[in-house]
Symmetry: C2
Subunit: 231 residues, 2 copies
C-alpha cells in the first residue's frame, strides 16, 4: 500500500509538552483533534518510545501549543528530530507555566491549551491520550497556523521515523529530477541549491559543495559530512 | 472558557461511512488522524448518538472519504446535518464497495481508505475508533482537499450540535454587523445578500425577502419559514 490516500489527511502542527517532576519535555505532533465539546477534550497521538510519552503517562497532564506558519525549521527540528533524552529542549525556549505545571511553549505559538489526561489507549507503536481542556489562551492574533502540508510541501520538511505519518522515501520522484540535491542522513532534510538556506544566510543558487564547512543541517544541526548526494 | 484556542486546531473534512447488514450510513467528520505507520492505522471520533456510531460498533468496519474543496453545501448538509434514521443518505450518492463491504462515498471525494476496527475508546459524548487501513485509493488527482477553516470561513458553514467542535453562537460579532442576514433555525446556515446562493441560482445582492417561496435552505432543505432575522 502506497499510503497516498493517507497523505490527504489534513493536519496542523503542534508542540505537545509535559513534565516529570522538575523536568520538562515536548515534541512536534500533527495528530491532534477535538473529541468532545462538553467538556472540551482533545486527543493527541504520541509514539511510545518518546520521552514525552513517558512524561504524560506519569504526570497525567500535557499542554498543546498551536504553531504559526513562520516557525523556522531550526525550531521545528529541535522539537521534531531531537530527543529530550539528549538535550534540554526548554533551555533556550520561551514557555509559560499555567494550571497543570507542565510547560506551554510560547515561542512561535499562536494559541495553547492545557489538559488533564482522561484516558490512554494503546495503539501499537503509539498511544492516544484524551485530555480534558482545563485552561487555554491566545498568544498571537492575526497569524496563520502552520499546517502539515505547508511544512511538507513548502518548507520541504520530513516526518521523523517515530511519526504516525512517516513514509519511507518520500518525494522520491521529485528527488530523481535534480542531481545536485543533498540529503541529511540523520533527519532527512534535503538541501537544494534552488532554495538555498535563508535561515543560515545561504543564498539560492549555492551548490552544496560551496557551503562553508561551518554550515550545519538547519533541522538537526549535524555537519556537512552527514549529507549524501541524491540520485 | 471561550474555546478560541481549540478553534486553532487544523482539520480536513471527511465522510466516515459504515454498514449494518444491507443498510449503509455515513456522516461528516473532521476529527480524523493517522495513529501508526506500521501497520497504517487511523483514528476517527464519532458522536455516540449518531447512527454511524451504531453501525461501526456492530460491523467493526468503516471507510473514510477525503472531501474536495468544491463540495457543495447541499452535499455537505446531507451528510452533516441529516440523520440516517430519517433519510437514506446513499440513495442519491455515488459510492463504491471495496474490501470491507462498507460503502465508500466517491462523490466530491479525492481519496479514501477502508478500515477494520482495532479498538474503540469511550470519551463521554463521543467515541474514538482506531482502524487498521486495509485498502486505499485515489479518486481524483490535482484537486485540493476541503479544510474545516475553508468550510467555516469561506463557505460560512457551521458545526452541528453533535460535533466535537460545536460552539454555540459562533461568529456572533460578525453577525451583529449586518442586519439583513437570515439564519436557518434548523441547521444554522446563514443567508447573506452579500454572498447570495449560487448553488440555487440566487445572485449576490438578493435580499432574503426577495427569495422565491420555493427557495430552500441549501444545507438542510427546510423552507424559508424556518429562517429568522439576525440581530
Amino acid at each position: 500500500m502506497e499510503k497516498r490516500a493517507l497523505q490527504q489527511i489534513n493536519y496542523g502542527i503542534y508542540i505537545v509538552s509535559s513534565k516529570n517532576g522538575a523536568k520538562y519535555n515536548g515534541q512536534i505532533v500533527n495528530s491532534v483533534f477535538q473529541v468532545t465539546s462538553e467538556p472540551a477534550a482533545v486527543a493527541v497521538c504520541i509514539n511510545k518510545s518518546n520521552l514525552t510519552y513517558e512524561f504524560i503517562s506519569q504526570s497525567k497532564v500535557f499542554t498543546v501549543s498551536v504553531l504559526e506558519k513562520n516557525a523556522p525549521m531550526l525550531f521545528l527540528g529541535k522539537f521534531g528530530f531531537k530527543s529530550g533524552r539528549d538535550i534540554d529542549k526548554f533551555a533556550e525556549t520561551k514557555y509559560l507555566l499555567g494550571k497543570t505545571g507542565a510547560p506551554v511553549v510560547t515561542d512561535w505559538s499562536l494559541a495553547y491549551f492545557e489538559c488533564e489526561v482522561l484516558s490512554q489507549t494503546d495503539a501499537g507503536t503509539h498511544a492516544i491520550f484524551v485530555g480534558k481542556v482545563i485552561a487555554e489562551g491566545i498568544l498571537q492574533e492575526d497569524k496563520e497556523p502552520l499546517t502539515y502540508d505547508y511544512y511538507r510541501l513548502i518548507k520541504k520538511g520530513k516526518s521523523p521515523k517515530a511519526a504516525p505519518s512517516y513514509v519511507a522515501n518520500t518525494f522520491q520522484t521529485e528527488e530523481k529530477k535534480a542531481a545536485a540535491k543533498f540529503k541529511c542522513k540523520v533527519c532527512g532534510y534535503e538541501y537544494s541549491p534552488e532554495t538555498g538556506d535563508a535561515e543560515s544566510g545561504i543564498n539560492t543558487g549555492t551548490a552544496f559543495e560551496s557551503l562553508p564547512q561551518s554550515w550545519k543541517c538547519p533541522v538537526c544541526k549535524v555537519d556537512k559530512n552527514n549529507f549524501e548526494k541524491e540520485n
